[in-house]
Structure formats: C-alpha cells, structure tokens
Amino acid sequence: MKEAFTKSMARNIYYGGSLFFVLLFIGLTVDTHRKIPKTDNSQAITESVAHGKRVWEENNCVGCHTLLGEGAYFAPELGNVYERFGNSKEAIKAFIKSRPVNGIPGRRSMPQFNLTEEELDAIADFLEYTNGIDTQDWPPNIQG
C-alpha cells in the first residue's frame, strides 16, 4: 500500500466505521421492535402457543426441519405446514402420532416422540401461529 495511506488512517476507518454501523444497527433494531407488531402475529400468542414453542424446542424439531427457512434441511419446512395440511390442526397431530417407533426401512422417518394430548395441541397451535406470521410471501409456494 502507498505510504500516503498511514496506519492511523486505517485505524480511524476501523474505529469510526464500526462505531457508526453499530449505532445504525441498534437504531434499526429499535425501529424493528416498533414495527413488528404489524407482522409478527404476536396477538395470536396464547398460553398454548407458548407451550407449543417449548415442545418444539425440547424435542429439537429444528434438528431436522426448517421453520421459516431456518434449521436443518433434512425434513420439510414447517412454517406453512398448517396451510399445507389443509388448515387442519388435527392432521398435524395425527401425523406426529402416527410415526413408527422403529422407523421405515431404508427411508427417513420422524421419531415417535410419545407426546401427550396437551403437548400435541400445543405444538399444533404453535404451528398455526407461525403460519400466520407475515413473511413477505415466503415460501414461494405451498411445498415450502
């Protein structure tokens, strides 16, 4: 690099640039907090939805599935599964309940989690709530 460009100039770009963008990021975060009640479907968060999120987490569902595109890529997207299953929570519950304990020979299969009826209702409610989040029309189609 040219001598005219000194180390202290480089250092100032680092300090100045980082500080500016940290502050901008914090500003955008504050603004995001203000705006998301319009898109985050938080009015739909009931006790059962909150419980469902816990069931989702404590069975590590994200270890195979994506949820709004984030997670593992081994099993289908579940952000829109409520819609894909015909807006039916019963269909979601029936699918989870029906998983064979020893899997399906040669194929991927969801484990049997032995969830209680209450947990099944909760996870279905959670997936219904997630389906209602405004995601800028993602995914592109019903297949996720």
């Binding site: 180390k7 480089a10 250092r11 770009i13 680092y14 640039g17 980082s18 963008f21 940290v22 990021f25 955008l28 975060t29 995001t32 898109t39 985050d40 938080s42 968060i45 939805v49 909150a50 999120k53 989702w56 987490e57 404590e58 069975n59 590590n60 270890g63 195979c64 994506t66 709004l68 984030e70 997670g71 890529y73 081994f74 289908p76 997207e77 304990v101 020893n102 899997g103 399906i104 020979p105 040669g106 194929r107 991927r108 299969s109 484990p111 049997q112 989690f113 709530y129 997630t130 989040i133 405004d134 995601t135 800028q136 993602w138 995914p139 592109p140 189609n141 019903i142 297949q143 996720g144």
Partner: protein, 470 residues
Amino acid sequence: MTYQSQAVSKLYFMAAIGLFVGQILFGVILGLQYVIGDFLFPAIPFNVARMVHTNLLIVWLLFGFMGAAYYMVPEESQRELHSVKLAKLLFWVFLGAGVLIILGYLLVPYAKLAEMTGNSFLPTMGREFLEQPTIGKIGIALVCAGFLYNIAVTVLSGRKTVINMVLLTGLLGLVLLWFFSFVNPENLVLDKYYWWWVVHLWVEGVWELILGSLLAFVLIKTTGVDREVIDKWLYLIIAMALITGIIGTGHHYFWIGTPSYWLWFGSIFSALEPIPFFMMTLFAFNMVNKRRRDHPNKAATLWALGTGVMAFLGAGVWGFLHTLAPVNYFTHGTQITAAHGHMAFYGAYVMVVLCIISYAMPKLRGRVANSNKAQVVEMWAFWMMTVSMVFITLFLTAAGILQVYLQRMSETPLPFMVVQDKMAFFYWMREVAGVIFLLGLIVYLVSFFIKGETEKAPKLVRDPAAFESQ
C-alpha cells in the same frame, strides 16, 4: 517458543484436533443418513447426529481460538501469561463440560435432557447451534469469561500490539454476544432476531477479528514483513468486516416477519461482505511475495494462503451467490445454504486454526519447523481436505439447484420428500467426497508422528534485519 507459559496452548490444540475428528465422523454419518434414511435409526436419529456435528465444530474452534491466544499473546505482549494455572483449570472444565454435553445428546433423549437440566427455569434449548442445556451455556460463559480475563490482564499489562489488541477485541465481542444465547422470547420473530446476534455476529462479525489477528500473526512470523505494513492491512480488513457484516445481519431478516426495509439493508450490505475476505486473500499472497525470509515451515505458509483463498470462496463467493433478496427468496433454507455453510466454516475458521496449529505445534515441540518429510505429509492432508471440501460444496450446490427448481420454480412444484429422492445422486457424491475428507484428516493426524531431520533456524532471503524479533 520464547515464553514458558505458551506451552499451555498445546493442550488446547490437542483437544481441538481430537474433537475435530469426532465432528468429521458424525459428518460422514449424517451424509449417509441423507441417502440411507434409516441408518442408525432410532439409536442416533439425524437431529442428534447433527447437534453433535455442529456443536463439536463450535467447541473445537473455540479450543483452537483459546490455544491460539495462549500461544500468541505472551509473544506479542512480551511477558508470561497472567496465570497458567487458570488456563489449565479452564481447559479441563471446558473439556469436561463439552464431553458431558455431547454424551448427553447421544445417551439421553433430548426432551429428557431438557427435563434433567431444568430447561423450564430458563428455556434456551432446542434452537439451532444453541442446543446446549442452559447449565452448559452458563458453563461456556464462565469458561470464556475466565479465559478472557486471563488474556486481557496479560495483554493490558504487556506490550500492546495491533495484533493482540484486535484479538482481545474479537474475544471480548465473542463473550459479550454469547449472552444473547440466553435470550429466548415466546415471540418467534424476536427469538429469531436475537438468535442471529450470536450466530451471525459471531461468524460474520467478531470471529473475523480473531481470524484476521491469527492470520496476521502467522504471516509476520513466517514472512518477516514489516509490522507497520501488516498492521495497516489488518485494520483495513477488520474495518471492512464490521462495516459490511453488522448491517449484513439483515440478510437473515428477509423472511422471518421483520420489516421489509431489511430486504434492502440486508441485500446491499451483505453483497459487500466478500470484500474483507477478498482483502484477506490479497493480504496473504502479498505478504508471502514480499517475504524477507524463507521460513522452514512451508506447511504453515500453505495453510495461511489456503485460508485466504478458501475463506474468500466459501464465505465470500458462496455467500454472495444467494444473499440478494430476490435470489434468496428461492434458495432460503435449501442445500445451497448447506453448501455455503460447509465451505465458509472450513475455509475461514477451520483453516485458520489449522494454520496456527501448523505454525505453533512444532515450536511447542521444540523445533522451528517439522522435518521436510512430516511437512510433505501435512501438505497432502491440506490438499485432500481442501479439495474434497470444494467437491462437497459443489455437489451440495448442484443438489440445491435441483431442489430449488423442482420444489420452488417449476410449473408443478413437488413435495419436499419427493424432491429429496431425486437429489440422491448428488448426496451420494457428497458422501464420497466426505469420506475423502476423513481420509485427509487421518493423513493430517499421521503427519504429527512423522520424524526426520529438522532445521534449526529460518534462512535469510534479503534482509538480515528480518531476523530481529518482530
């Protein structure tokens, strides 16, 4: 090795390599489960193997960073480490906690593990990469804080260089951002929003400071280039990393229920994220070209150049490939993401840790560099792992393109599992490449046990002053 206390880094490097082996073994299992769906089911279901694979990666990279810091900081600060005892104690605590967490994943159903560790008191489990039980997360926080204290006292009371100050800043950021792993609101959008403050702001933020500092250290040592020049590069690289990377977090805020302006912020800033990585490539090649000594450790120089190139390809090019919102709309959450993740982690963080290990380990074992014979074997390992990682990435990219087309772009979009069957060919090819990576890793391990004659001191190239301690 100039300072006695540097020796503690050897423990950390050995643990890092050991856990790396575990990570790759589980990677090969996962690759097979993609094509033989019931492989090891229900004993080790996919989600468990994946947790082990990703968590081992994070833990061994942290071991690598810690080892690197314990090796570099005394030399940079020109004093012994504040406390070797603390470094040793934290090592065993961290290793014990890490092993317990992994065994917990493998031996107990995850829901049971959550119950046993009292997840309901402070629920933090079950989120990608942050699957550790809450108590484990607290343990990681304590170990990292203790480590940071040890490093900070050493740095602040010794010679302050750009390299050790940047390293310290990066480590401080690492520890502070970890606290967001405890933030888990009921609101899924906010949960995801802050989850990225750990995941993105680590790997596309503060970890780049650590990466830059490690790379700069090895380049100073192996090339003898003037510190002023190296420092200037380092400042510019990390400046660009933070200027692009912080707002670049926005490329994760496209489709999770956040305001639409993130489509613009995320696209524009993350499109600039390749810049710091490209500068790293230029940096590494420039310094090696301008070298004032021919360091006998050719392998370390190769890793340094490799880090520059592969970090740019994996993080820079493969990141850019799917970061613009109109593209990401179709590729989000597909094998394209997996392709990028693999080469980015390998190219940036795996390689820089192997680079510092390559430089430091011979010194820790009492020689300037390994014998020529050992280095040749290490370089074989470099090429086997690096080339097979390129192929893993290419096959996953091919799989991803097929997936995006069949599932999201064709006139009659097919269901996920139907598409997965059609991608099997590429998954098989990826598995073959994965096995070659494992073979490369075995060759790497073997290189540590190869004897032969070793050189004592670096050969001069141009300037005798280069010998002076830099």
